[in-house]
């Protein structure tokens, strides 16, 4: 069994991270009835016996003593981390896993990336190494941060490149939260574009999530909960938006949104944690989903998102789950994959779903989905037998799809608006190590990325003849 380490950076990263740990504990508590520290638990948690003098972990198979998250928490202000340390999750982390400063990054990528990146470099590497040493087979780092602020985007992407240097063989999957267009951080376009270049160059996969999509989804769920649609009821205790059954008490404003992202992480790691008839390991994601090294942005959608207790027969509902995964309303960025070009698509199914259900649905949906000419059958599937708490089945779809392009173009536009006037530039150029070329390079990198997607998108609906085969002299 492999282990993964979560690195949560900045306010947003830490808030999502906490929802993840809360829900992960709940999921394992639901499955693990015997109180034994099993392999599933070991993938994200250590089992520490405080009576042992060295504070070392217990082996798989022993009873659960004290679970510690395999996590490193970094923030350049204290608020969120302090809150965590006072909350119900405090037992899950110890001080050696935390790194905070008091003054924040002032919404400035350069401060996070350059200033704090250099000041805390040794300490961060030390904490990462510690976390890695606790694993027998470290497979993946999950990095969570926002793109708009200073700490998440700046220091977060610095940590990403440190990971690449220090652990070149361990994959790096970044969950990056993109700011809304009406974001109150003026400099968020700068921060996002500067961070994008780092993500494009140093991550194995990026799961982009847009704040606006999360807002939309949560609003839709609330509307349904208030019975707009007759007969539709949100299932009680669904982990998608509710805190119920989790460790923390009162719900906070962003909890519903953060829960959605936490669910994304729960589902993407489910097959690495639990058994299934068709395992999909974390190291299978990049090989299947990333045809070209820079095009590693995977659009994700979760179903069921809106738990409706409708009257349809189960079979219909199951098929509906598959259809929903491709609809606009279920994507975690504002994008429409069905009307763009698929480079590859992965379906990670959990729960009581059979191979034949999966196959039937792929065959059913395939004709309506445009795939790139050389990957017409670009489907990867995983079946994990353990469903999320409160559900009988669930589906996470990951799409490498040119529908990410508009998000990037919009970002570029907002960046250019500021950059043309050189607005706020001096705040960045003051920072040691930051030069104007960083801006132009970052913009160039984003341009090139958009260009690559554009190039592929242009092949859509065009007839591409098969490549001429090698001929054999007879």
């Amino acid at each position: 069994m492999t282990q993964s380490v979560v690195v949560q950076i900045g306010q947003c990263g830490n808030q999502i991270g906490c929802r993840f740990w809360d829900l992960a504990l709940r999921e394992h508590a639901h499955v693990n009835k015997e109180g034994l520290y099993d392999e599933a638990l070991s993938s994200f948690f250590r089992n520490v016996d405080s009576r042992k003098s060295d504070g070392g972990g217990c082996a798989v198979g022993e009873s659960i003593q004290h679970l510690k998250a395999r996590a490193v928490l970094v923030d350049m202000e204290e608020g969120v981390v302090n809150e965590i340390l006072q909350g119900a999750l405090r037992e899950v982390f110890d001080s050696a896993q935390l790194l905070t400063d008091v003054s924040g990054s002032g919404n400035n990528w350069a401060v996070g990336h350059m200033t704090y990146g250099s000041t805390y470099r040794e300490q961060i590497v030390e904490k990462l190494r510690k976390a890695a040493e606790h694993c027998d087979c470290l497979q993946c780092f999950f990095i969570i941060h926002s793109m708009g602020g200073g700490t998440g985007s700046g220091l977060g992407t610095r940590v990403l490149s440190l990971l690449e240097e220090e652990f070149p063989e361990v994959s790096r999957i970044v969950t990056a939260v993109y700011p809304s267009a009406d974001d109150d951080v003026i400099t968020s376009p700068y921060n996002s574009v500067l961070a994008m270049r780092e993500l494009t160059e140093h991550a194995d996969c990026v799961l982009p999530v847009e704040n606006q999509s999360l807002v939309d989804i949560v609003n839709r769920i609330k509307r349904m909960a208030h019975g707009e649609k007759p007969g539709s009821v949100i299932k009680k205790n669904s982990t998608i938006i509710s805190n119920k059954g989790g460790l923390s008490g009162a719900e906070k404003p962003f909890d519903a949104m953060n829960n959605i992202v936490a669910n994304l992480l729960l589902n993407i790691t489910s097959s690495a944690r639990f058994e299934g008839s068709l395992n999909m390991d974390l190291n299978e994601i990049a090989i299947n989903m990333v045809p070209f090294p820079r095009l590693h942005y995977l659009v994700s959608s979760l179903t069921p998102l809106y738990m409706l207790a409708d009257v349809n027969v189960p079979n219909r509902r199951l098929d509906q789950m598959f259809s929903d995964a491709f609809s606009k309303d279920h994507q975690l960025i504002r994008a429409d994959p069905k009307h763009s070009l698929y480079l590859a698509c992965a379906l990670m199914v959990r729960g009581d779903v059979q191979l034949s259900d999966l196959r039937r649905n792929i065959e059913r949906l395939r004709p309506s989905l445009p795939f790139v000419s050389w990957n017409k059958e670009g489907w990867k599937t995983g079946l994990c037998s353990v469903p999320p708490v409160g559900h009988s089945h669930s589906l996470l779809a990951l799409a490498n799809n040119t529908c990410v392009k508009p998000t990037f173009m919009e970002l570029k536009e907002r960046f250019t608006k500021l950059y043309r006037k050189k607005a706020h530039l001096h705040h960045y150029l003051h920072v040691n190590g930051m030069e104007q070329s960083c801006f132009s390079d970052a913009l160039g990198s984003l341009d090139a990325l958009i260009e690559e997607y554009q190039h592929l998108d242009a092949t859509k609906d065009r007839f591409i003849p098969d490549a001429i085969r090698l001929s054999i002299a007879s």
Partner: protein
């Protein structure tokens, strides 16, 4: 003589487990002592306490499936795997053939070779190896190919049969066609014979013949296991002079893979039906064999939907048939008959020279094994292993898809990272195009390719 099975990767370990299940269920409860003794010697090692221990080595790069197979075998009460005859790691090959072949295979070669050697030492006489693997993923295909090469080096005189599961056309692994191309090109150099089952065909058998409602991998793997058992279980062969054959793999290879350019074997079995229907069915040898022969020449893997219009022509224009219907030309066929009144079965229709290529006389191209011991509850059953054009189309499809992807250089960087270059890919494509060309000419060529 004994066969050592090497189960490789997730698919290999699941199929392998089902194979031993099928064999143990079938043979060991049979009261016919000669048969079950021969079967036991072939597949199991009997401990002093009387336990049956599978002659198998389990290899995977992750623990889950091996642990499952071992515990399922233990709970069968009939047989088990050897306590130390498995090897697994923590982290899979990540669907990447290059990772399996270039990195993980070489890294763990010594340990696995040692396990195999210990298993071989348990056999009084070794007939050879059956390596069970898929071609789609990274471990079965990549590590499996590398270990086949190690077996070839370490046991140059033993036969190696590779059993390959071909993935569904879509939906399992996106780089499956690359992995398949690399596997097949390499195995064609290494293996004595490559026996193929296609998941798409098996899925249809489960749905249409066995009436499985919700098809799982277990169902699919059981079909493979039943078919494999029906050729690997003991039978009387022309060379065994009334006793059960001593060298099943050797005889299989020499009957079917008589030319080094042609090693791809496919198989079909008749009947296949839900066990609840068996009691209401009657079987006759002429009926079964008539269907099986038409399945062969029309290249249908199922008893349902056979195209009866495809016919060999008596004239020399051998592949003449109605347009759009292609006659499947065979190089060699092996027919295995099991069940009641097997000696009355008339198999002359399989010796018809129009079924075969012109350069191999039917008496060399057709072989027949039989036994009166029935298999899998069928009173009579017939299995045909065929070295024919049957796999030409799926192979050509696979190469075409991989070649299209290769033309865009998509995913290549993932292989280069582990040491497989574009040239390596090109070499593999070249050798598969060669195989495709050879098989397509089976019907027309007058001479064997040199």
């Amino acid at each position: 003589m004994s066969i050592v099975t090497v189960q490789l990767g997730q698919c290999g370990n699941q199929v392998g487990h089902e194979l031993f299940e099928a064999i143990s269920r079938d043979a060991l409860q049979d009261h016919r002592k000669l048969f079950s003794t021969a079967s036991r010697e072939r597949f199991f090692n009997q401990t002093a306490r009387g336990d049956l221990v599978a002659r198998a080595v389990l290899v995977d790069m992750e623990p889950k499936v091996i642990k499952q197979s071992i515990s399922k075998a233990n709970s069968s009460g009939r047989w088990r795997y050897g306590e130390t005859s498995h090897f697994f790691q923590n982290q899979g090959s990540g669907n990447n053939w290059a990772n399996g072949y270039c990195i993980l295979g070489p890294r763990h070669r010594d340990v696995v070779e040692d396990l195999v050697r210990r298993e071989v030492e348990q056999c009084d006489r070794l007939s050879g190896f059956v390596a069970v693997m898929s071609v789609a993923g990274g471990t079965g295909s990549g590590v499996g190919t590398y270990l086949t090469q190690c077996l070839r080096d370490a046991f140059p005189k033993s036969f190696i049969l590779n059993h390959l599961t071909w993935p569904y056309g879509t939906g399992e692994v996106i780089v499956q066609n690359y992995n398949s191309v690399l596997t097949l090109a390499h195995l064609h150099q290494l293996s004595d014979a490559i026996l193929v089952h296609e998941n798409d065909t098996l899925h249809k058998i489960c749905a249409q013949l066995l009436n499985n409602k919700h098809i799982s991998f277990t169902d699919v793997n059981r079909v493979i296991a039943q078919q494999l058992a029906s050729i690997l279980q003991p039978a009387l062969t022309p060379n065994s002079y009334g006793a059960y054959s001593r060298n099943p793999l050797g005889e299989l290879v020499s009957s079917l893979a008589c030319h080094s350019e042609y090693k791809l074997l496919s198989m079909s079995t008749i009947p296949q039906m839900p066990s609840s229907s068996i009691a209401y069915s009657t079987f006759s040898w002429p009926g079964l064999l008539k269907h099986l022969r038409q399945m062969l020449i029309s290249n249908t893997k199922m008893e349902e939907g056979i195209d009866w219009q495809v016919r060999p022509s008596a004239a020399s224009g051998r592949s003449r048939s109605l347009p759009g219907r292609t006659f499947n030309v065979s190089l060699a066929n092996l027919l295995v008959l099991r069940g009641k009144e097997v000696y009355s079965a008339e198999t002359g229709s399989f010796e018809d020279p129009t079924l075969y290529t012109s350069w191999l006389p039917p008496e060399d191209a057709f072989h027949l094994w039989k036994t009166e011991v029935p298999i899998n509850k069928y009173e009579k059953s017939a299995t045909l292993v065929s070295n024919s054009q049957a796999l030409l189309r799926p192979l050509d499809n696979m190469v075409a898809k991989a070649w299209n992807m290769f033309a865009s250089r998509a995913y290549i960087h993932q292989y280069v990272k582990f040491g497989i270059s574009e040239e390596n890919f090109l070499d593999s494509f070249t050798s598969l195009e060669q195989i495709i060309s050879s098989y397509s000419q089976l019907g027309s060529s007058v001479e064997a390719p040199s």
